[in-house]
């Protein structure tokens, strides 16, 4: 108690120097929370969007299916068994058939992934309902990125060429019946969605699928030859991206934190050097050296308490505003192929805030303690003389 009172008195007494240290540390404190909250918010949003638009509550993969190897698609399909048919009927999962194809927009050639989906499915947000048309032309829905890249818009026709199961080329016009807007680029860039029954007919893979997207109600795991991939597995890519972004941001705020800690360290070294007489007086009044070390450590460490208070003072309104309004992102971010919205709503969790407080307090305490250790070797009679040793 004596130590805390003395610490704050001394800090306030030191005036400008204290506030300089405290300001820098508070800035590091707020920036750490901001960056991590921003990335956590992004992560959360990407999870939700990817689940909503692409992976549902997991997928059942054909054993040879490899999303990174388009040549695997030739073999990565199998008939829908009776078991699975039942699950489709009860809306627990929906089949997707994937094949490679080419489109020729305005005479250019572009390789795409042709994905067959059931117009009736409601497990993912792809507007497959729009595919439920009666016309003779094959309906297709595409995302806004695809539409931009191929210069296609709603109502446009485009020539599609594909191979059937025997390897024979065939070509037909398809019509864009809907353009959707999604944050998930992997179901958008280079993807064209058509009714699965039509794709099965076109390729001759009657009643076959490459994978199934499952609903929350699905609990069976692996079924027949199909391998269950849970959301944890399917979201790993996002985790990796966020992880690497977090590592990158450590550099930025780590530097800030180090500057702040160096300033405190320097202040500590200086005050022990300057305040030898005071140290001698404490000892003469009956304090042990360890008690004096404790007092000086608390004093340095108290910078962190003031920094957290000051940081809260401006951090709460700023970060609170950003949490409600979101952080707008530059358009260019989209082309990285990362799942990201126009705005990121940062997520400042209690865990994040508490761990940042802990980080700041503990690191400030450590740098405050180190310079004080020389007090234990200080001779009180020399200290009282204010002798510089």
């Amino acid at each position: 108690m004596v130590a805390f009172k003395l610490a704050f008195r001394n800090l306030f007494g030191a005036g400008l120097r204290t506030w300089l240290n405290v300001s820098v540390l508070s800035f590091a404190f707020v920036v750490i929370i901001f960056y991590n909250g921003y990335l956590d918010g992004w992560n959360k949003q990407a999870y939700i969007d990817t689940k909503d638009w692409e992976i549902g509550n997991g997928q059942l993969w054909h054993p040879t299916y490899d999303p990174y190897d388009h040549y695997s698609l030739q073999d990565a399909h199998a008939p829908v068994s009776g078991n699975i048919q039942k699950l489709i009927s009860s809306d627990q999962l929906t089949p997707v058939l994937i094949t490679q194809a080419t489109i020729f927009p305005q005479g250019r050639m572009q390789n795409i992934l042709l994905k067959g989906i059931s117009p009736a499915q409601q497990i993912i947000k792809i507007p497959s309902k729009s595919l439920d048309t009666a016309g003779s032309i094959i309906p297709a829905v595409i995302g806004k990125r695809m539409a931009f890249a191929a210069k296609l818009k709603k109502g446009d026709n485009v020539l599609l060429r594909w191979r059937d199961k025997n390897g024979t080329f065939d070509a037909k016009e398809i019509q864009v019946v809907d353009v959707f807007s999604s944050n998930v680029s992997t179901i958008d860039n280079g993807n064209i969605w058509i009714p699965i029954s039509q794709l099965q007919q076109m390729t001759g893979f009657e009643n076959e699928a490459t994978l199934f997207v499952v609903d929350k109600t699905y609990t069976a795991g692996n079924i027949d030859l199909w391998i269950y991939k849970d959301t944890h597995f399917l979201l790993k890519e996002i985790d990796d991206i966020i992880e690497s972004k977090k590592a990158g941001s450590v550099l930025i705020y780590g530097l800030l934190l180090i500057i702040a800690l160096l300033a405190i360290f320097d202040t500590q070294v200086l005050s022990i050097f300057r305040r030898q007489k005071e140290i001698g007086t404490y000892i003469a009044l009956g304090m042990t050296r360890w008690k004096v070390i404790w007092i000086f450590t608390i004093e340095g460490s108290a910078h962190s308490i003031l920094a957290i208070l000051l940081g809260s003072l401006y951090g709460i309104p700023i970060l609170g505003y950003l949490q409600i309004k979101g952080i707008p992102l530059p358009k260019t971010m989209d082309s990285y192929g990362i799942t990201i919205g126009d705005r990121i709503f940062p997520s400042f969790s209690i865990g994040l805030i508490l761990s940042t407080i802990l980080l700041v307090v503990i690191s400030a305490t450590i740098v405050s303690y180190f310079p004080t250790r020389r007090i234990s070797k200080l001779n009180p009679t020399d200290a009282l003389k204010g002798k510089i040793s």
Partner: protein, 236 residues
């Protein structure tokens, strides 16, 4: 004079390392100080007054011989035991006052008691009483920077006295004060010596202080040159 010996020093020497050699600051000191004495160590600069006072105050240890203070041998005390002895039984007064600048007068005096884990009520009574002894009850809220030198030294006396120690060690308490203030603070200490039976030991070469002393121990080059009790009826 009381005959109970508070401090007894025998064959004490103190050597300091100076460069490669040694400097003998105190040579074969034999001394006994009884309860209630108002004693001064006097002598020219460098004669060893502060060194002896520091050993009595357990801030330093003898190189040879023994110093027993309140029955405890200074050389054998651990850091913690020495701190305890100072905290409970010894008050210090310094030439430069050594008040904590960030604390008020009240808090400076209270500080000694905080280390003793006294309750606030106990502390408050004791602090106000100590400030009353030195006539500073109207300055409780002032900071040391707002006080005169004499007032600062009176706060330091209150700080030393507030825990009612058996021994107060005062190293050149008047060196930074003018004549009027010097007389004032020594008179204050003399009064406390009479009323509370506190033993005072000074290190001084100030004539104004010496005239109040009951016993004058003269040091020269680290040796006791003269040790005499003074009988004076003046200055009361």
């Amino acid at each position: 004079m009381e005959n109970r010996s508070l401090i007894s020093i025998s064959n004490l020497s103190k050597r300091f390392k100076v460069g490669n050699g040694e400097f003998l600051a105190l040579k074969n000191i034999n001394l006994s100080i009884a309860e209630g004495e108002f004693t001064g160590l006097v002598g020219p600069s460098g004669s060893g007054k502060t060194t002896l006072l520091n050993i009595i105050g357990s801030l330093d240890i003898p190189s040879d011989g023994t110093a027993e203070v309140l029955g405890k041998s200074i050389s054998t005390l651990s850091h913690k035991q020495a701190a305890m002895l100072r905290n409970l039984n010894i008050g210090f007064i310094f030439q430069t006052y050594n008040l904590l600048p960030v604390y008020t007068v009240f808090e400076n005096v209270e500080f000694a008691l905080l280390l003793q884990k006294k309750t606030f009520a106990e502390r408050k009574i004791a602090v106000m009483e100590a400030l009353d002894w030195v006539g500073l009850t109207d300055k409780v809220k002032s900071k040391p920077s707002q006080l005169s030198g004499g007032e600062c030294q009176r706060v330091a006396i209150a700080r030393a006295m507030v825990k009612r120690p058996q021994i107060v060690l005062a190293d050149e308490p008047s060196a930074n004060l003018d004549a009027k203030n010097s007389h004032h603070i020594v008179q204050t200490m003399k009064r406390l010596n009479k009323e509370l039976k506190t033993t005072f030991i000074f290190a001084t070469h100030d004539e104004k202080v010496m005239q109040y002393l009951d016993r004058i121990i003269s040091l020269k080059d680290g040796e006791i040159e003269k040790d005499e009790f003074v009988n004076h009826a003046k200055n009361e």
